[in-house]
């Protein structure tokens, strides 16, 4: 009984340690989907801001919220480990995550005249992330 309990504990610890930060294709695909969503929403927001449809407060606050989500995804992608076959995709997604984060910063901080360009960059990033995400499924 005692041996069984110790065995179970060791198994749990090993499984837990082995799984720490490891992403399989499905988990990576989920991260790609979440990042693509944030980038696409940022693009829409930036285009609206450039067209004078938004208020400064709303675009600043909402882009900050999106930026927080993008930064979190980028950080978890950077920290994660994957199988060797998936690692190039993980790294490319992490880089795109960092780019999306910095573009979203621009919506809040840069002059309004830059919004259209930022929106285009975010839209391009969203498409690249989508392509990478599709390659995983």
């Amino acid at each position: 009984m005692r041996i069984g309990a110790w065995g179970l504990l060791v198994l749990v610890l090993l499984t837990g340690c082995g799984d720490r930060g490891e992403m399989d294709a499905a988990a990576l695909s989920q991260q790609a989907k979440a990042l693509q969503s944030v980038a696409a929403e940022g693009a829409l927001l930036a285009h609206d801001a450039a067209s004078g449809k938004s208020t400064g407060v709303y675009s600043g606050e909402h882009s900050a919220e999106l930026r927080g989500a993008a930064a979190q995804i980028a950080a978890s992608l950077e920290a994660a480990t994957t199988t060797p076959g998936l690692d190039p995709t993980r790294r490319r997604l992490a880089v795109l995550g960092t780019q999306v984060t910095s573009y979203l910063d621009r919506i809040r901080d840069a002059p309004r005249s830059e919004d259209r360009a930022v929106g285009q960059r975010l839209a391009v990033s969203a498409r690249r992330i989508q392509t990478l995400g599709r390659s995983l499924t």
């Binding site: 979440a34 969503s37 929403e41 693009a43 829409l44 004078g52 449809k53 938004s54 709303y58 989508q130």
Partner: protein, 409 residues
């Protein structure tokens, strides 16, 4: 003429007060994932809330008894206590989510820090609840919640494929997400439409307003037209998300996302109307949930209760709704995401639904309470049908939430 005006005003406030944070979250997410395919669920949910609200309004008017009074009497102390605990937890979670929603709206309007705005929101809500009479609370929050009509305008201006929209009202095969996620959203949308606090608040309000048999017509009209038209706002939110968010792959995870649709279609005026509409719809729901928590506790333990009582005259009732706000503030101050909290509160409220709706169905059928105003054939058929639906979704809600990781797939 005066009566017609009163009915019209009641309907308007019911429309504005129909949508809460649960409807906003689930309808936009469902539209962004499944397009128009889940429109039929909104109709099913709206008919369900009409059936049971009409029933509990009638019970309150005829038997002069609110829902929780009946829950304890009909289910006994043990089951009643279980329902009470479940309802209080769900009311608190919902109240916290709504308070968080108010703070987010204020932040999107002002740019001030979130935690400071939680304090502002709580102070404003407690002040309104303390000083305003019942009908004023209902009207102010209901009328200003009508800003949400901007989503109906946006839905039309986005020129959806109306043929596709029409097909969405017929349940059928789905695409765009897995079957489990589809079922999770069916449960979530029904839960968001038939949330129990609305019934507690509605029936307690009817008792407070001193409804009698003469008000049965008003009860029918308010529930049918008010909730029916309010349901159109839920449909509009789903249509807008289906047209604007789905093709772009946007999955709305923030309360700031739905106003983006109004902004995109109608510019700054649309954005401001959407934010003000959400602010007051969610604020009104925060007051309703805090009062529901106080109503339930007071009615279960037989305390003196009612907004019409002086606060000192119903001290335990007053302390309970203030405590609900205090606890809700403590929850959102932790920084927990109000949207995630909403998803959990809706799913957990689904679990408590049968224990809320069964006593209403039983009493509405009992001639010793209702005399000649017992359920007719239609009310009974729909009541039993909906109880079966409620039972099915309450059993499947938590397994679906776990299997789909909260709708993430």
């Amino acid at each position: 003429m005066k009566n017609v005006l009163a009915v019209a005003l009641g309907i308007l406030s019911a429309i504005g007060g129909f949508v809460d944070i649960g409807d906003l979250v689930f309808n936009t997410q469902a539209g962004a994932i499944f397009g128009f395919q889940l429109l039929w669920v909104v109709v099913v949910g709206v008919v369900g809330i009409i059936v049971y609200s009409e029933m509990c309004g009638r019970v309150s008017a005829v038997a002069k008894r609110p829902v929780f009074d009946l829950v304890r009497e009909r289910t006994g102390f043990g089951a009643g206590l279980m329902t009470l605990v479940a309802s209080e937890v769900v009311s608190l979670m919902t109240c916290a989510a709504e308070v968080g929603g108010v703070a987010i709206c204020l932040q999107l309007l002002s740019g001030l820090p979130y935690r400071f705005l939680i304090l502002v929101a709580i102070s404003g809500l407690v002040l309104c609840s303390w000083i305003l009479p019942f009908d004023w609370i209902e009207r102010i929050f209901g009328y200003l919640g009508l800003g949400l009509l901007v989503f109906a305008v946006a839905a039309i201006k986005l020129h959806p494929d109306w043929g596709e929209v029409g097909r969405g009202f017929v349940p059928g095969a789905h695409s765009g997400g897995s079957l489990m996620v589809y079922l999770y959203f069916v449960v979530g949308l029904l839960g968001a439409a038939m949330t129990p606090y609305e019934v507690y608040f509605y029936s307690s309000g009817a008792v407070e307003d001193g409804w009698g048999v003469r008000d049965l017509g008003l009860n029918k009209v308010t529930t049918m037209i008010g909730y029916g038209l309010g349901g159109l706002l839920s449909l509009a939110l789903m249509i807008v998300a289906a047209v604007l968010f789905l093709p772009r792959g946007i999955s709305p995870e923030f309360l700031g996302t739905p106003p983006l649709a109004a902004e995109h279609v109608l510019g700054q005026v649309g954005l401001l109307l959407a934010l003000v509409g959400i602010l007051f719809a969610v604020g009104g729901a925060a007051i309703e949930t805090s009062f529901s928590g106080a109503y339930n506790l007071a009615q279960f333990f037989g305390w003196k209760w009612g907004k019409k009582e002086r606060p000192a005259g119903a001290a335990r009732f007053t302390l309970t709704w203030i405590a609900m706000f205090g606890l809700a503030m403590a929850v959102v101050m932790t920084g927990y995401d109000p949207v995630k909290l909403t998803e959990y509160s809706v799913i957990f409220s689904v679990v408590a639904l049968p224990l809320t709706y069964l006593p209403i169905l039983l009493v509405a059928n009992d001639p010793s309470y209702m005399g000649t105003n017992v359920n007719g054939r239609l009310a009974n058929t729909l009541g039993i049908l909906y109880f079966a639906i409620i039972l099915a979704i309450s059993i499947s809600a938590i397994p679906l939430m776990l299997l789909t990781h909260g709708g993430q797939g």
